[in-house]
Amino acid sequence: MLALDRVSKTYPNGVQALARFSAEIRQGEIVAIIGGSGCGKSTLLRAIAGLDRASSGTVILDSETIASPHAKIGIIFQEPRLLPWLSVADNIGFGLADLPAAARREKVVRALERVGLADKAQAWPRELSGGQAQRVAIARALVPQPEVLLLDEPFSALDAFTRRDLQDHLLDLWADTRPTLVLVTHDVDEAVALADRVLVMRPRPGRLFDQIEINLGRPRDRNSPLFENFKRSVLTSLDRSLDRSVPDRDATQGPGQAMWW
């Protein structure tokens, strides 16, 4: 289980990006974090990844406090961030340096096939399209089999078609080992399509505003009325989060309370 306990972040310039964010995320759960710009969602993700330290509060994964990057936590950024001097195959195997070459090669080959890029193994990253590059990034993050995979607006730079394709692909890959996914997004459709639970944050300082359980089975039909209903409730909550006249409330009391529409 991934437990966030009153995680706060104040930058040296005095800006409080994150205030007492608490949440518990079950193993294998898919959680989407959504909110207006500047609500601290990326700050939160970087704290979970151990890339930036929280000013106060703790991130605990399976009773281990996370203060620096951890082997059980993988991350996918908005940009693929492939290493341009490594072939696609070597990029995917980048995190497997400790394995013997044969085992590494086998895992890479399997991952390449899994993301449908077997024919691109020896290509350079510059030869890939945006969607292909992001698929390589997903493969690179997944081959070390992390328990938690963090995604920071991973599909926001892609066109709508590719985005949907990759969202489905991500779910497909997730089903293999069922890691915990924490997905930061500003796309309501994406949040409802992927997540078991949507956490809505509100800005200045970034804090938890609301959480909405998405009680839909998978695969999800994006055109179903139920899907639309969930989208609407997330949107309404987002709107309210940006309305200063709406007071904060304790969002950690559990599900059900979001059904106020």
């Binding site: 990844a49 890339l51 620096s68 990057p69 951890h70 082997a71 993988g74 991350i75 950024f77 940009e79 961030r81 290493l83 341009p84 001097w85 490594l86 980048f94 995190g95 340096a97 350079w124 990253p125 510059r126």
Partner: protein
């Protein structure tokens, strides 16, 4: 979708022909660069041959070539080339090692940069030839002072190139290394070194160019062999053909060594997505 298909086909055609020039163009294009010097040389040859000029101060190419052949036959040419190459090689090696080490330290470690860089920059502002009298006093008139001078010339561009390249390595790429928990040495080997390699190769080439410049300076100051000595000897004995012969050999050697660096680094830089590559240059 259907209406897209012909449009796609149309646009792909001119792009393809631009990417793969015809066979004739591929062989002719490099020759374009030779056209101007060749015309000038042939023209001058004709002018002297027809008696319009006696070519005493500006000897025609044939006489320069004859001088080179003569020097080669007597074995002197090899001796001079060897002496100069040896100096450039040693000076370049020392300059590169020092420039790379200090540049890497300054680039990687900000405390070292604050301590070291202002001094290095101040030293860089001194015209390197100003060191000559001091080097001669300290190191003597023979090889050591020459090699030191060349090393100084090579040092600065390499130092600057390495430090600058490390400072602008993309933070996002470094973060990838961090998420995979690379240790310090692994971060250097797997992220920083490959990332700075293109800029490093450029700085090596600039450094080598300066090395060739300074070897002439060093050999003009006082040497009994070397291509610079040939220059000076030609001036003092009024042999312009010998001066031109030395200059031509400098040009050939400079280009050749530069090309060696380029060829040796090319396999490591194939990944680059660069403007020059896209143009097929």
């Amino acid at each position: 979708m259907i209406s897209d298909a012909p449009v796609l086909q149309q646009t792909s055609e001119p792009a393809e022909s631009a990417a793969a020039p015809s066979r004739v163009a591929r062989y002719v294009r490099p020759l374009l660069g030779v056209l101007l010097p060749l015309t000038l040389a042939l023209g001058w040859e004709l002018v002297v041959w027809s008696g319009w000029s006696n070519g005493r101060l500006v000897p025609p190419p044939s006489r320069v070539f004859a001088t080179i052949m003569e020097l080669a036959r007597s074995g002197e040419l090899i001796r001079h080339i060897a002496a100069t190459l040896w100096r450039v090689g040693l000076g370049f090696a020392f300059g590169v090692v020092a420039g790379t080490l200090l540049g890497a330290i300054s680039g990687y470690w900000s405390l070292a940069r604050r301590l070291l860089d202002p001094t290095v920059q101040a030293l860089r502002a001194i015209p390197s030839l100003a060191w000559v009298p001091l080097f001669i006093l300290w190191l003597g008139i023979f090889e050591t002072s020459k090699i030191a001078l060349i090393a100084v010339g090579v040092f600065f561009p390499v130092y600057l190139g390495v430090m600058g390249a490390i400072l602008i390595v993309d933070r996002k790429i470094v973060e990838v290394g961090r998420t995979f928990r690379l240790s310090g040495p692994a971060m250097i080997r797997r992220i920083l070194l490959p990332a700075v390699l293109p800029a490093y190769v450029v700085s090596l080439r600039v450094g080598l160019g300066l090395g060739w410049m300074f070897v002439v300076a060093a050999e003009l100051i006082g040497a009994s062999e070397g291509l610079g000595y040939l220059l000076l000897d030609g001036q003092q004995l009024g042999k312009p053909a010998q001066i031109l012969a030395a200059i031509v050999i400098f040009a050939i050697l400079g280009k050749l060594t530069d090309w060696l660096i380029e060829v040796a680094s090319a396999p490591f830089l194939r990944w680059q997505d660069a403007f020059g590559r896209a143009k097929g240059a």
